[in-house]
């Protein structure tokens, strides 16, 4: 197996991009990444596009060929593949790109994530979110995605005495971080009182505990570690790319307060990278709901199981804390264009490791981690990067 590196990343503005189409944002992110890598589109061997539900959001399937075509690459006839794992589709695109380069099959590959959510109304968007869990046994019985995360939150509160205030702190921190991220959807600070005073979506989750519906795209260019220096002075090395799965339904889980897919993916990733959780300097984790960040930072081994709420309350996950979590603003404040999120997280870590993250820079960050899940944790994908 060959070592793999990332040599370029690019991300569009996240938010309600009313005047941009699905293909516009996919191509914009791709071109930014290609430009950042200092390569030409002609150099690419393959494209992996992570996307959850273009078929229902914009009534477009076969998006691999579409993106390749509108990026001006149709004449190259490269392999262009769409991959899907619910909200983890973005990380799955990178995982696929990494496998293809590591195996020796391809040399230079672009991994993209894209979702255009605002062409449908909020009711349809909510219904599409829940298609990432079990339609027959969860959605049809009335579950929405926030209601499932609310059950996890209730269980976590009961078992570990986690509080609504601790969950609110996740939103407060991530909104603050996003004030330094020009591409984030919500670039304004919010108070814990505002979170706790916002309408209940699914008890105990308030509106401001939930990430926003957004449009966005992000892309990363991957090549072998051996050739990376040919393109850039500052490649970021992919030390681990680990994917794991679990029951699709929340009610079949062993424990509502942990996501075994995350635990297993993290374990594999730390083994691959030969690193410990304590050696991670910065992480982008899947905070689609504030409770998800608390569960993630425990399952990833940054804190003891059940201690995520207290650690967050104490500021250990803030910029300048023990382990800064979601310096970008996370899904909460960047917005969560489903398939785009996994690559957007990678782009953030690449910028952090290059020291290009401006006011949200984690000083001397050398090792970074990304964590992207699908549904309520039916899939989890963990990547570890070093500079």
């Amino acid at each position: 197996m060959r070592e793999v590196a990332i040599i370029g990343v690019g991300t569009t503005k996240f938010g309600e991009l009313w005047d941009r189409s699905f293909r516009d944002i996919a191509v914009e992110a791709g071109l930014k990444a290609i430009e950042d890598a200092g390569i030409s589109g002609d150099d690419l061997d393959a494209l992996y596009g992570g996307n959850m539900s273009a078929g229902r959001f914009v009534e477009q399937e076969h998006i691999g060929a579409l993106i390749s075509d509108y990026a001006g690459l149709s004449g190259l006839h490269i392999a262009a593949t769409r991959v899907e794992a619910g909200c983890a589709s973005g990380a799955l695109a990178l995982h696929s790109a990494v496998l293809s380069v590591a195996s020796g099959w391809y040399d230079l590959v672009i991994a993209a994530g894209v979702e255009k959510m605002t062409d449908v109304n909020d009711d349809i968007a909510s219904d599409l979110l829940v298609s990432g869990v079990d339609r027959e046994w969860e959605a049809i019985c009335g579950a929405t995605l926030p209601s499932l995360f609310a059950q996890m939150a209730k269980a976590h509160m009961q078992k570990y005495h986690t509080t609504s205030e601790q969950m609110a702190k996740v939103a407060v921190k991530n909104h603050f971080n996003a004030t330094h991220n020009p591409l984030a959807q919500y670039r304004r600070e919010i108070s814990a009182e505002a979170v706790l005073g916002s309408p209940i979506v699914a008890d105990p989750l308030h509106m401001l505990d939930c990430s926003g519906i957004a449009d966005g795209a992000s892309a990363a260019v991957v090549c072998t570690a051996e050739t990376a220096k040919k393109y850039t002075e500052s490649p970021v090395y992919v030390k681990a790319s680990a994917q794991a799965s679990d029951t699709i339904s929340l009610h079949d889980r062993r424990d509502l307060t942990t996501m075994d897919a995350t635990v297993f993916a993290a374990k594999k990733a730390y083994q691959m990278a030969a690193l410990e959780p304590t050696q991670i300097d910065v992480a982008e984790v899947h905070d689609s709901y504030t409770i998800a960040e608390l569960i993630a930072i425990e399952d990833l081994g940054f804190f003891e199981k059940g201690a995520g709420g207290t650690a967050t309350e104490e500021g250990q996950t803030e910029l300048g804390g023990k382990i800064p979590i979601n310096p970008s603003g996370g899904l909460k404040a960047c917005g969560h264009p489903l398939g785009a999120t996994g690559i957007r997280q990678v782009a953030e870590i690449v910028q952090q490791l290059r020291g290009e993250a401006g006011k949200r820079q984690v000083p001397n960050a050398e090792v970074g981690l990304t964590h992207n899940i699908g549904g309520t944790g039916g899939t989890a994908i963990v990547h570890i990067f070093t500079r």
């Binding site: 309600e16 009313w18 005047d19 605002t118 109304n121 909020d122 309408p199």
Partner: protein
């Protein structure tokens, strides 16, 4: 000098509180009220529709300036809830107010801005000296699907403006329009309730059109926001006009006098015109007013109006907008549903 010769307003006396609608659908009334900046909305009586309300406003306008309806040369009624799909509302109004048969008349539809479009059409005829007075009306009994976000604001009301060159109470100094094909809100033939594209109705629709039209007007006239004493924007809720005003450099003090949506709801084709009427109720001679309407689909018309010395005499002869704030009867949701024809027997 082309301008407004007279004006009249009508708002039905029934109201339903935002909380009572929220209660019906399990929503939080207090946060709905705060989010929309709307307290309550007007509800038509069982036998009221856009035509009857257009007649009420037209009569009020004729009466206020003591005009002879036979002097009207054009009657245009703007509404998105004309009672007939085919059969004009304007002819009903013309007959009811005893206008001449030698007039041109038609119905206008442009979502919430059909009334200002009717004003522009009248201005054209007046400018050509083809008629003495034109009557432009915006009237609606707007409909919203039960439980839809629109239901909290969709209201009923009408406003009529007589346009002419004789005894003008507010000169229309200039105007602009900004129009695009934007599908933010629509109702197809034979559909009872309109459809809308959620938050898309905000930035790409309301804000883009109101601000583009207003900016074009400021550029065309060389006027600054501070040159205006009052600013009236289309008011689908309380928040949008204040936000649009702020982004253009107008103050909330300039907007406040004409902001009637908190008390009446969104009266659609009448909304910005009732706001203008509320300003004319109070404005002093030589004060300047900005009026910017918005209609989904989408477009905005902006006007610069300058109040003349004739205002004081004319306005006192008719019912002011304030009158409709006081005279009101509250309905519960069930009675409201009956009034709106939401209960089908």
């Amino acid at each position: 000098m082309i301008g407004i010769v007279s004006y009249g307003v009508y708002v039905p006396s029934y109201r339903i509180r935002v909380e009572d609608i929220a209660k019906q659908w399990g929503e939080d009334g207090a946060s709905m009220k705060a989010g929309l900046m709307v307290e309550e909305k007007s509800v038509p009586d069982l036998d009221e529709d856009a035509a009857t309300m257009a007649v009420e406003a037209a009569r009020a306008a004729i009466h206020r300036a003591n005009l002879d309806p036979q002097d009207l040369g054009a009657i245009y009624v703007g509404a998105e809830s004309h009672p007939y799909a085919v059969k004009p509302t304007a002819t009903i109004v013309a007959a009811a107010i005893d206008a001449s048969n030698a007039i041109t008349a038609a119905d206008f539809e442009f979502a919430c801005k059909a009334g200002t479009a009717a004003m522009q059409a009248c201005m054209g005829f007046v400018a050509l000296n083809k008629l003495k007075y034109g009557l432009a009306i915006g009237a609606d009994t707007s409909q919203a699907s039960p439980g839809d976000a629109l239901e909290y604001t969709a209201a009923a009301g009408s406003a009529a403006f007589v346009i002419g060159q004789d005894k003008v109470i507010a000169e229309i100094e200039d105007y602009t329009s900004f129009t695009t094909d934007t599908p933010d809100f629509w109702r197809r033939d034979l559909q009872k309730y309109p459809s809308h594209s959620g938050r898309f109705t905000g930035e790409p629709a309301y804000f883009r059109h109101t601000t583009s039209s207003t900016k074009a007007l400021l550029e065309q006239t060389g006027l600054k926001p501070s040159d205006f004493d009052f600013a009236v924007f289309h008011q689908p809720n309380g928040k949008f006009p204040l936000k649009a005003a702020k982004s253009l450099g107008f103050t909330s003090a300039q907007v406040k006098t004409g902001l009637m949506v908190p008390f009446f709801g969104n009266t659609y084709s009448a909304a910005s015109l009732i706001g203008l009427a509320a300003v004319l109720d109070k404005a002093l001679p030589s004060q300047r007013i900005l009026l910017t309407s918005f209609g989904s689909g989408a477009g905005s018309d902006s006007f610069v109006l300058r109040v003349t010395d004739s205002i004081e005499e004319v306005r006192e002869k008719g019912q002011k907008v304030e009158h409709f704030l006081v005279s009101k009867k509250y309905l519960d949701y069930a009675a409201y549903a009956k009034h709106q024809g939401k209960i089908r027997m």
